[in-house]
Chain length 343, copies 4
């Protein structure tokens, strides 16, 4: 079997989670998220963001979190603003539109939205009532391109949204990776202060399943649970989700796992940089996009699985390498070895 | 802690499932249901229904299965016919309507639909195009009342649906319990022959999570996966679902677990019957609805958890007792003991 | 051609409306409801309800009004409560459900809702978040059965709704007929005080097209126009709608037309009563439901068109007769003549 | 009052239509489109397209036609491809998304789609089932920019769609103007042969209200009327729509009106061209986009109403002038006079 750098959800989950699944298996617990583990997970998350007034809901995956949050927050005529590589735009089979809402796409260089990207969208949507009303700004941290928001960037965006009556929603499928990037100056607590809603991704950071939606804006809290049930996202055995996040939130496991993934990616990145390889984007998280020759791609493909992301010219392409909480040193070293030998 | 007879999803999962989760945890597997376990689970299900042309999809829960199937099958102006205690009617927060479709409710004595229940619905929906078009008949086996379809009943219903251009969809959240009831003469294979779509419930029969949707009518198969993704139901770590059903489908585990649950309920039922207790419905699955005095309810409540289902008169109510794959002899015997003592 | 008592939209419109269509035809007017006629119509309606803070929107028809109002007012998980013969329940092809909302049906004797009808619905929808949340009460005046709300009945219902956080929405497709019924003690002004939203039907009372939605609850006013545009209901030549309501609202034309329709129906009703005929419902508006012999139905059918509404027994049925703003004395007298001759 | 060149729906309707409204006003007619006038209008349209097997439905406006057609044709996971200035993209308040479907936007130079524009969209939507499935190509003729499809262009597009399993839907809000353009070589009959569905716009070409949807692809015909009713588009007094199209379809009135509008626009265009004025797009229909100095815009604004469409530089902008079936010579000549004087 070739080692896969295709994504960060190839393996199962962190052993601590399995351990609690085993220990608790025969306990009778309340259903639908009222079990002790879910309650404990929610408590830990609120402590970590230092906001007892936020509300936390556990759901199964990112598309589910996105569609529930957005359809819950918006009125029928309101729409979403998203950077062009946003996951909701092109990778979720129209899940947001299926709930009735348009998603406006904005081209960006690095997958991140700035206030100056949003101003023209607001200006060009002023023909009331003939156009959708932009109401929610959707961002990801880290982004689909592996880039991250620095504290000042998020502060400016948050401030802009508040002054313009826009909700700010952060897709945190890879929030752990974003916050533990070596260049990040953002904290989880600050994310909670600056966004109306965000979620902590479990699936891509060591859980078997699960994203934890955190609602900071109290206007958006009432009745949220109805939306979860209606969209088919309320698991009868909510303990499954509770146990994932209870364990991830203990000590700093969530961040340790993400930091490990980032570090493994950085090792490969640095090895490539030393050999003069260029990158599609300058990332410091667990996704890297080196531009290499087709010949090298062929050689690497004999040993590893990864996606060829974008053809650059006749002779070279950018590939995408993703490391995970479970990417071991051996695979990384083998990869670097080949690089060193071939470049 | 009191033992709970509230539902069949209080415990975790059958140990075999945990075992495979442990063994396979560090394997790298393809995402989104392309993992080996999901493929194997689907293969086993097709073998059990003896129909290689059916298609199988694994999703997380019953509401999710119901809304995906129904919204996939119907055109915008078509609606569902359901017996009045149908789960989609009153227990899913309007999940079906949220996808745009009306659910017509039919009062029945026993929670089961007969052709003669449906005829008047078709007749009263003939004012084209001013009324919704009935197109899908939704049934459950076992039903919300614990009753089951006998083979002849399902055959007549299936035949009626085919002659009238109606799809027949069976909610099988408790299909195991339905088929292993001591009075059942239906087989899983026959269910697959007689329905257009059905699902095998995992959550209520020993899985941590998961329902297996089986599409028998080939007209309804194309592109079904798009609907699963769009509704947020395609788990990145599909292995989690695959492992549940791979294990449940091995040998007869799925049916053994359901049969056990039924038998535990029947022990209690028989003890109650011997003492002259009447029941709200005459059930032979893992749900029973004895009508007992308020005094006895009070005594039992000190030892067990259960739902008081329906007030019958000033002095008595029907309670609902549900047993599960994991309901042990001890709890059952203790319950019977109290009954014997008090009645 | 036989004279038709089938409905109140068989003819064109009141001649005053045509007159203004002719006079104004070559004027250039602003589009999308910003024309002088629409503005004037809205002004007259606000004067008639004596509430300058209400907002008025003109749309084409009743189903359109119903689906726009309801989808605008409700959050995704909220539902409607309607008396069983409600137009939205069975005569609009699932238009409300198509916007995502369930409509709960309540059986009533006379098509009218009382607080005591609603209490059990609220009580049986308390399993949060597993059930839809009742939020809007939909009533019609006059109802589908031709019955009307007396002032005290509407006051009690309104009071109940306000105390229970429910919106009260009156479908006024036949509001003119309801308010000018000889037994009515309700006024238009009072309707506006007691409801959150209602509409004044034009189509069934002398307009070619049009219903005037009146939003009294200021919480429900913001951004309403977006919903109208999004549902395809914002006519480019809004003048067409404006002229209808400007003319109907001048002096008392709207009420005069409805009163005429009612009176013609009452003439027939009284003639039938004198002969001992019974009625399905005791109505005082332009819809009557006499129960007559099949033989008489046959004879009347040779001269008039009408619906046979409900089979009562082997020998008799209730028929539905509807009179309109334009039903002349001749038709009424001819009908009565036959009655007198045959009974 | 200044004369308005703002749009083609400022005036009422062609006098012939008013004439029939008057003559027929007191006739009793069947409701919901079963009146004689609607039947006759549909018959005339089928004759004009020379296809008795097409089906025709009359609705009120363009947004309504677009949302009904698209939601009727597509499965939940399918989406629309539209040229970027498409009316559904930016001028209908998200009406299409509100029915659950994404609209993909394609940048074009002239508002028209070519097969080569669509190929990359299909290629970039091949990650099944993670992306929406492109299924319907939406075009307008004439387009939002006033440009038109030549016969060969439409043939190639139609052929491409058929080979790729895509439906071709033409928004014909200004189809009259497109087909009577002095450079057009397309016929109405050919449009019907090359599209799966299209509509003939009435509102912008001399009707008070109405668009005639024509379904040529028989696969898309069954049950279409249900969608019209469900979306609130089935007028009780369908005669209003029937009379519009019966009159427009008599002789060549529909085309005569559009040709007149085009000719008036061409007179102004030619006068401007003679003076060396450039245009944003080279159009031959009733919409022209001359680029003129801000000074000239100021002078013209004193006499006429029109939209300033796009700022070109500090000193000049493109304006949009639209002529209609009722734009008289006097206004046109006055406009040209000012041009001649000032340029």
């Amino acid at each position: 079997m070739k080692f896969s750098f295709k994504n960060d959800y190839s393996e199962g989950c962190h052993p601590n989670i399995l351990q609690v699944l085993l220990q608790s298996n025969f306990e009778q617990q309340a259903g639908y998220g009222e079990d002790e583990y879910s309650l404990q997970a929610k408590k830990l998350i609120k402590e970590k963001i230092n906001n007892p007034d936020s509300e936390v809901y556990l759901v199964s995956g990112g598309t589910q979190a996105n569609l529930i949050v957005i359809s819950s927050v918006l009125r029928p005529y309101q729409c979403v603003i998203s950077a062009a590589p946003g996951h909701i735009l092109n990778n979720e089979t129209g899940a947001i539109e299926a709930t009735g809402h348009k998603v406006l796409s904005i081209e960006t260089a690095d997958g991140k939205l700035k206030p100056s990207d949003i101003v023209p969208v607001l200006e060009s949507h002023s023909n009331i009532p003939h156009q959708v009303m932009p109401k929610l700004v959707y961002i990801s941290n880290s982004t689909e391109l592996g880039t991250i928001y620095m504290a000042e960037e998020l502060e400016k965006l948050s401030d802009f949204c508040r002054r313009n009556g826009l909700y700010l929603f952060m897709d945190g499928a890879r929030l752990g990776h974003g916050l533990t990037s070596e260049i990040s100056d953002l904290t989880l607590e600050r994310v909670a202060e600056l966004t109306d809603i965000f979620y902590l991704g479990g699936t891509k950071n060591g859980a078997l399943i699960g994203e934890a939606i955190v609602i900071n804006n109290q206007v958006l809290q009432p009745d949220f649970a109805f939306n979860i049930k209606q969209k088919g996202a309320l698991l009868a055995k909510g303990r499954l989700l509770g146990i994932q996040f209870m364990e991830l939130m203990k000590d700093d496991l969530y961040f340790d796992l993400a930091r490990h993934a980032n570090q493994q990616a950085m090792k490969i990145k640095n090895a490539l940089k030393e050999r003069g390889v260029e990158f599609l984007a300058d990332t410091y998280t667990n996704q890297i996009f080196p531009v290499i020759s087709n010949d090298l791609i062929k050689i690497l493909s004999e040993h590893f699985e990864f996606f060829v992301w974008k053809k650059m010219d006749e002779n070279s392409s950018a590939i995408r390498l993703i490391t995970s909480w479970n990417t071991g040193d051996e695979a990384v070293e083998r990869f670097i070895e080949i690089i060193k030998k071939e470049l």
